[in-house]
């Protein structure tokens, strides 16, 4: 018996089947639940209930504001760090970059727990007693703490690619540090900013582990909101998930998409 000729293309069949079963079909199921009522009849009631409920909409807006603050703080801290490292002539700058990535490999929840213990310790001091109930503050700090490497890495890789001769040319032509920064560094690092922003903004809108553990469960972000609804109303939960899905894809599209070559978790380091 002769086996049919082996084709390299057939290798993608298992993966394609996997994607259909565990990504495409589940997305369709969400869509189905979002537009049906409890009797499984087609209805817009979840849609209307969602968009006519001010508390739901304000929770979403609140969550987006927290994410924006987190993203801006991450950018403000990460940009100088990435620039200093990328422009540094140190031979061992790789080691310093490694130090920024290393905490990412400790379990996420254990890391948040470590920060929680630090906050508890700080709150014992009289001057810092306000920390005890500063739920939003602690949540934002926790998110910055957790997602900072996601911002540093893409910025660093983009800045590293900027041709050194551009800086020399700028200096030769009499550009001072400000001019060089605004006309060379900043425009050329925009792709890095975009992927960094996507990498931080989306998880900080949805990863409710940080807000639950540091915000005494008093800070409700979209992710938490979905999971709360999911407990008793699959249809509404699916509707919010669908809205979030659209937000995610629109913002990815706006920021120019995900750059796959920037390996976001630093496994290639």
């Amino acid at each position: 018996m002769k086996l049919p000729r082996f084709s390299r293309k057939t290798l993608c069949i298992p993966y394609a089947v996997f994607l259909v079963f565990f990504i495409i079909i589940p997305m369709c199921v969400i869509l189905f639940y979002a537009f049906t009522d409890k009797e499984m009849n087609f209805s817009f009631s979840n849609f209307l209930r969602f968009f006519s409920d001010p508390t739901k909409l304000s929770t979403i807006a609140y969550s987006i504001v927290i994410s924006l603050i987190t993203t801006v703080i991450c950018l403000v801290i990460a940009y100088p760090v990435a620039l200093i490292l990328a422009r540094s002539r140190l031979k061992k700058k790789f080691v310093i970059l490694m130090l920024f990535v290393l905490p990412m490999w400790i379990n996420f929840v254990l890391r948040v727990n470590a920060l929680r213990e630090l906050f508890n310790l700080l709150a014992q001091a009289e001057a810092l007693a306000w920390l005890e109930n500063a739920n939003i503050f602690k949540t934002v700090v926790g998110m910055v703490y957790d997602f900072l490497p996601f911002m540093i890495l893409p910025l660093y890789t983009t800045m590293l690619k900027i041709d050194n001769s551009l800086y020399e040319a700028s200096a030769d032509l009499g550009g001072n540090a400000f001019v060089t920064f605004f006309r060379i560094t900043l425009p050329l690092s925009v792709p890095g900013i975009m992927s960094g922003v996507t990498m931080v903004f989306l998880p900080s809108m949805t990863n409710y582990v940080v807000s639950d553990m540091l915000g005494n469960a008093k800070v409700t972000i979209i992710g938490k909101f979905i999971s709360d609804y999911f407990g008793n109303d699959w249809h509404m939960g699916s509707m919010i998930a669908l809205v979030l899905l659209i937000v995610v894809f629109v913002s990815t599209w706006l920021t120019g998409g995900f750059k796959s070559e920037e390996n976001v978790r630093g496994a290639n380091l």
Partner: protein
């Protein structure tokens, strides 16, 4: 000249400060994991109590074993599926390739809660319920796309004529793939595997939604211990400091060793 030196100091100070904040919580736990008591704030005396408690608590040991076994299984399966998928996609027609790639990107950019929820709803709707199988699938959904993303660039860099040469010299397509193509993309496969391991180890949300009841990983255990604070967890919380410290030390050692051996290989070239 003095101004330059000042700038240098400022830069070093800034980078150092960010690193200090990044490591402060972990170092705090590392110090207090050797304390006699389970109170952070005053160091009462050096002891291994918390480490002993960690290794005597069968529940904690069980969940650590669960986490690593799950990460290993998910990473192996994801690596096989993802590598085969990337290979197949690479040789497919452009349109097929774009389609598979687009679907494959969904779990990468999508919010984890939406992925988790869509999977959970689907599993329950088709009667699979929640079992170790669904948990494994859940982890594969978040890991495999990253394996594909790691392998793809290596395929693009590959010298395609070597495969043709192998066929001309009489190798079967399968043998040529295994002995000629695979060795060229192996760095991508390895980094994909590592990425899959870290993603699985870190995951909380997908685990939470797809796990069978009573199954605990480090993430779910720590999350429950800190947010639902039961009376019996006081001792366990302190043993989690020990766990954090151990994981931290293991990661530092791993990075050191892999860097040293990596440097050596580069030097040999």
């Amino acid at each position: 000249m003095n101004k330059q030196l000042l700038m240098k100091c400022l830069k070093a100070f800034f980078v150092g400060l960010v690193l200090l904040v990044l490591y402060a919580p972990i170092l705090l736990l590392a110090v207090y994991s050797f304390d006699k008591t389970d109170m952070i704030g005053r160091f009462e005396g050096f002891s291994f109590t918390h480490y002993a408690a960690l290794f005597q608590n069968s529940k904690v040991l069980g969940m650590i074993g669960n986490t690593f076994l799950l990460a290993f299984l998910a990473a192996v399966l994801s690596t096989v599926l993802g590598t085969a998928g990337a290979l197949g996609m690479f040789y497919c027609k452009k349109r097929t390739k774009t389609a598979i790639h687009a679907v494959s990107q969904i779990p990468v950019i999508n919010a984890e809660i939406v992925t988790a929820l869509s999977l959970a709803v689907t599993f329950v709707a088709v009667g699979l319920g929640k079992s170790y199988f669904t948990l494994l699938i859940g982890h594969m959904v978040i890991c495999t796309p990253f394996v594909v993303l790691s392998v793809m660039p290596k395929l693009k860099q590959m010298d395609n004529s070597l495969y043709e040469a192998a066929l001309d010299l009489g190798a079967s397509p399968f043998k040529a793939l295994l002995q000629v193509v695979l060795p060229q993309i192996i760095p991508g496969v390895i980094s994909g595997f590592m990425l899959a391991v870290t993603l699985s180890l870190d995951d909380y949300i997908v685990t939470m939604y797809t796990r069978p009841s009573g199954f605990e990983t480090i993430s779910t255990y720590v999350y429950n211990a800190t947010t639902k604070g039961n009376a019996h967890t006081a001792v366990t919380l302190a043993s989690l400091w020990a766990l954090t410290t151990i994981i931290f030390v293991v990661i530092v050692l791993f990075v050191l060793i892999s860097n040293l051996t990596g440097r050596k290989k580069e030097a040999d070239r």
